[in-house]
């Protein structure tokens, strides 16, 4: 009974967070703000669904399945990387050198650095 309540709570939380992530994708006003909702809320929603699935297969069906742990690990490793790349796309498409703050070094933002400038700063190709 307690296990059933726990699984149900995880499933309901995962559904709410998944929905909040997608509503935030539509409702938030700025592209960089819109990046927040799916990368955080949706990842938490999927994590809740996978934990609920793990508990369900261990306690109700009666066998431990490690697949959920692998999927959770993979998603939690890759979600920050995709968020970072999409943020770089936003900077690349919607900002200019002048609209961004100073980097504090003699090199400019990586997105706006030309190949010639990078080779001059690092001293080698790639």
């Amino acid at each position: 009974m307690i296990v059933e309540i726990l699984i149900s709570v995880f499933l309901v939380i995962s559904g709410i967070f998944g929905l909040v992530g997608s509503v935030g994708l539509v409702k938030l006003p700025d592209p960089m703000m819109r990046l927040h909702a799916p990368t955080k809320a949706t990842t938490l929603g999927v994590g809740g669904a996978l934990i609920g699935s793990l508990l369900f297969f261990y306690f109700v069906v009666g066998r431990f399945s490690y697949h959920e742990l692998m999927i959770t690990l993979f998603l939690f490793l890759t979600a920050p990387i995709t968020g970072h790349f999409i943020a770089k796309v936003h900077i690349h498409r919607h900002e200019t050198r002048d609209s961004l703050p100073d980097t504090g070094s003699d090199r400019t933002w990586a997105t706006f650095e030309s190949d010639a400038e990078r080779i001059r700063a690092e001293g080698h190709e790639l």
Partner: protein, 89 residues
Amino acid sequence: MIQIALLFALGCFGLAILINLYKIITASGIGDRILALDTLAINAIALITLYGIWMETTIYFEASMIFAMTGFISTVSYTRFILRGDIIE
């Protein structure tokens, strides 16, 4: 009780996928569209997992694992193409 919670979660993620499809169509820029596609892949993983609970079988976890991998690779290659004009340099 698990059945009711499962139906609720399935409905939430189904609605989330519909919202993502709407966002893919009406996105203002390419970054928003990539973001909506990435969210669509993650929501599809959750939906496959919940369907596995519904059917009480673990056979769908391979499908969601492959979905996670291809979703990540496709998002990264799409953004790399926007950033560098090339995927593997």
